[in-house]
Symmetry: C2
Subunit: 114 residues, 2 copies
């Protein structure tokens, strides 16, 4: 299975923003920001997501926008954040987005934090 | 007519990213970044957009995400970028996005630049 990944210079900012403009996909990126390759299933477990079919769409959006690498590994897929590519192409963008996600959590009433 | 605008602390990063994750809306923000209030119609003229009904949707997405102020003025609407609110809430975010949009244009073959 060949999965489509844009080269670094094919990445477009509107696709990256659209990919991250979704709470679940943004949470995935927060998890992947720890670094390294992660098993798709383990990421979903960490986020409490049980619908694998829903996630197939989200993984594709993240991959085709250039936000993640996704590679088959046996019967699973391994995913990792394209930190280097994103930082090279859009300096400061990912850091400001991840910081912003933390700002939002801090601004929410305690009972409504996800 | 009362137009819904979120307070600064009600702005959510995923809504801002979703609003800017669209080429036309991103172009609008690039125009508004010059500062000041702009007549909706004049912004559309600058961008070569002729469909007012399509833009009604885009103005709403930008407004309800907290990216722009939109105020009625006579038979028209005036719009402006919520630069101060966005910079206070998400330092560096808007600058990195606008810089990223310029990076993309520079990376495109000349004939395909918008």
């Amino acid at each position: 299975m060949n999965l489509l990944h844009p080269d670094r210079d094919q990445i477009r900012i509107e696709n990256v923003l659209l990919a991250l403009g979704n709470p679940l996909r943004l949470s995935v990126v927060q998890v992947l920001d720890a670094g390294g390759e992660h098993n798709c299933g383990s990421v979903l477990s960490m986020l409490g997501v049980t619908s694998k079919s829903t996630m197939t769409h989200h993984w594709r959006v993240l991959r085709e926008s250039g936000v993640i690498w996704q590679q088959p590994s046996g019967r699973e897929n391994l995913v990792s954040l394209r930190r280097l590519d994103l930082d090279k192409r859009y300096p400061g963008l990912l850091d400001s987005i991840l910081a912003g996600a933390c700002t939002d959590v801090a601004a929410q009433p305690v009972g409504r934090r996800r």
